[in-house]
């Protein structure tokens, strides 16, 4: 754990709370396993002493902003998480002026779950191109960490190269395991609809059955609603209790969006998302 970095976060958080600049600070604290991190909310200056930052800080805290729209909050943001801030600014879900962003340069996050801290960096970190957050009010300075970058989308290509029957079999098997706990949705910064289509009763799109066909409809639409919006934090896959490789869906769409529209979500708070715009001259493979 980098104690100087943590001290910078705590000092900044304390200043913000003491001066009344923000109502609370959203950061990380030690989890009950004494080993990994969990999201933390500090409302009093004394509470900032709980805040930490290390390579187990996997959570994308930006999701919590949707519950805290009424008051100004400070939030600890990794480079990848900052894309979620841009996404939500772009989609007018949060206001920049009610945010104080404590940006951290990131050493990469390791594979982690309760009481488990792995040695290897998460897949998303291995291909991450951001060295510091895209947007911040205060940047926690530290020595930049470099690591060899992996080629992105290798696992997507591997899936693409399988036969259509193999792909079908693979996905049916994955979707069959889904228990519809909706953790993938709840943890997603892009999923903020007040009423999700999957729970809508009128019209009834999916229904309550926890069964292969319904699960498939849910998972396909969940991924597709994030097409051109997914910022690649992979949190959906991390939280899935039945190990469905959800990123493999999201990344496929991300890859295609990049190919077709040269767009990656969350890089700018202004650029029009690809499915909200068009080019008259493009054909996209359809005959005219």
């Amino acid at each position: 754990m980098d104690s100087e970095l943590i001290q910078q976060i705590r000092n900044q958080a304390r200043d913000l709370l003491e001066s009344g600049t923000v109502k609370g600070v959203i950061g990380y604290e030690r989890a009950s396993d004494g080993l990994t991190a969990r999201p933390a909310f500090a409302y009093e200056p004394a509470a900032v002493e709980r805040l930490i930052f290390d390579e187990t800080c996997t959570h994308n805290l930006v999701i919590y902003l949707r519950d805290k729209k009424a008051e100004k909050m400070a939030i600890v943001v990794k480079p990848c998480d900052s894309r979620a801030i841009n996404l939500l600014l772009n989609e007018k879900q949060i206001k920049r002026e009610t945010l104080f962003i404590i940006g951290v340069t990131c050493p990469g996050v390791v594979e982690t779950s309760w009481n488990y801290k792995g040695q290897t960096l998460q897949a998303r970190c291995q291909t991450c191109q951001l060295s510091k957050p895209l947007v911040y009010d205060f940047l926690v300075e530290r020595e930049p960490v470099e690591w060899p970058k992996a080629v992105p989308y290798l696992n997507v290509q591997e899936m693409e190269n399988k036969s259509i029957a193999a792909r079908r079999g693979f996905w049916l098997e994955q979707f069959e395991r889904c228990i519809r706990c909706y953790a993938c949705r709840q943890v997603c910064p892009g999923c903020y609809c007040p009423e999700c289509f999957v729970e809508q009763l009128d019209p009834l799109w999916v229904g309550i059955r926890i069964a292969p066909k319904e699960n498939e409809l849910w998972q396909i639409m969940r991924a597709f609603h994030l097409a051109g919006r997914c910022i690649g934090c992979d949190e959906c896959e991390r939280v899935c209790p039945v190990a469905i490789p959800l990123s493999l869906l999201n990344q496929k769409l991300e890859k295609k969006v990049k190919e077709l529209f040269d767009f990656q979500a969350g890089l700018s708070p202004e650029e029009q998302p690809p499915l909200a715009t068009f080019k008259k001259e493009e054909k996209l493979g359809f005959e005219e």
């Binding site: 999201p39 706990c181 309550i208 926890i210």
Partner: protein, 331 residues
């Protein structure tokens, strides 16, 4: 005196059981351990801590048809679903067996939930004592033990090259293979577990029901349903009608008090609209309402929710926080 079965004989016994009935046993799937129907004994995992999902899904399935509507000469008739086959669940941990016993309280009380009751009657439980405790385990703090035999029909305890077999019920006796030898071997001591304070939690939930604690705890809660769906004792459900190839079916599926709109009535009013109130409901049901109604708290210490909560809402921590609140207010 206890009985003994060698590992090879155990496999032969399981093979025999699976010829006669559905055998559900821990199976490895994509890095998970799940109770699944096995077709060959080789699929059965013997070295596992506990299953990812609890065995409740075989008594209260994620989705089941309660009844369907058929037409006889145009006259509608409601036909209840039936349980087709006898089932043996092998490899049940004591905590999960207690979970089933706890589910019995609401489901078997009058009027009994007939599908649940039928499954319960037709299922035999072969338990497997834990020789090792996991960091998330705390069954001994909530009235069970790694080698608790109270809620299974047969309990196996692994020793060096085989298992000590304790036959608990007549139902268990009926399952036994013939070739079992008596054993002088003493039962190994159960593993030691961490203690979680639970003495005052029921009282504390009542006393601190309106404490800001719940709202603060809910700050980081995602309000997904993982904790409820992996829990051996959570049993909330939803009911809707479906058409299956033109036939009407009334279906029930798992649901959880954590989802938004769980209590929202037609017209939009929701008596439990805040996140804090929803999270409090989870713990008050387990730690206060259930024990008040059925004596025991509705937690068996399996630690699944502890392990799988993506934001580390840890019921052990909640219980000690409550005990601390209680201790502070008492002093």
């Amino acid at each position: 005196m206890n009985l003994y079965i060698s590992r090879d004989d155990l496999m032969r016994w399981l093979a025999q059981l699976l010829r006669e009935r559905i055998l559900l046993a821990p199976v490895r799937v994509e890095g998970l351990i799940l109770f699944q129907p096995v077709s060959k004994v080789e699929e059965v995992a013997l070295d596992f801590a506990n299953t990812t999902l609890s065995p409740k899904e075989w008594f209260l399935p994620p989705t089941e048809t309660l009844f369907s509507m058929q037409r006889n000469d145009g006259q509608p008739q409601l036909v209840p679903s039936m349980v087709e086959k006898d089932v043996v669940i092998f490899g049940l941990r004591s905590c999960d067996a207690k979970g089933i016993a706890l589910m019995d309280s609401p489901f078997l009380r009058e009027p009994a939930d007939t599908l649940y009751q039928e499954r319960r009657t037709r299922t035999s439980l072969i338990g497997l004592s834990c020789r090792q405790a996991q960091p998330e385990c705390f069954c001994t703090s909530v009235g069970s033990a790694p080698n608790d035999s109270s809620h299974v029909d047969i309990l196996l305890t692994e020793i060096e090259d085989g298992y000590i077999v304790q036959v608990i019920t007549d139902k268990g006796k009926a399952l036994l293979p013939q070739a079992l030898v008596e054993s002088e071997e003493a039962l190994p001591p159960p593993p030691e577990l961490q203690a979680v304070p639970t003495k005052a939690v029921t009282q504390a939930v009542r006393e601190f029901f309106n404490n800001p604690y719940w709202g603060r705890l809910a700050d980081r809660c995602l309000h997904c349903k993982i904790c409820a769906y992996v829990c051996p004792t959570c049993y909330c459900f939803d009911v809707r009608d479906y058409f299956n190839k033109g036939n009407l079916e009334r279906v029930r599926s798992w649901d959880s008090c954590q989802s938004a709109g769980f209590t929202r009535i037609a017209g939009g009013y929701d008596p439990r609209a805040t996140k804090g109130a929803r999270l409090r409901q989870r713990f008050s049901h387990k730690l206060l309402y259930f024990p008040e109604e059925f004596h025991d708290i509705a937690c068996v210490g399996c630690g699944r929710c502890v392990k799988s909560c993506p934001v580390n809402i840890d019921i052990r921590e909640v219980m000690s926080d409550l005990e601390q609140l209680e201790a502070k207010s008492g002093s």
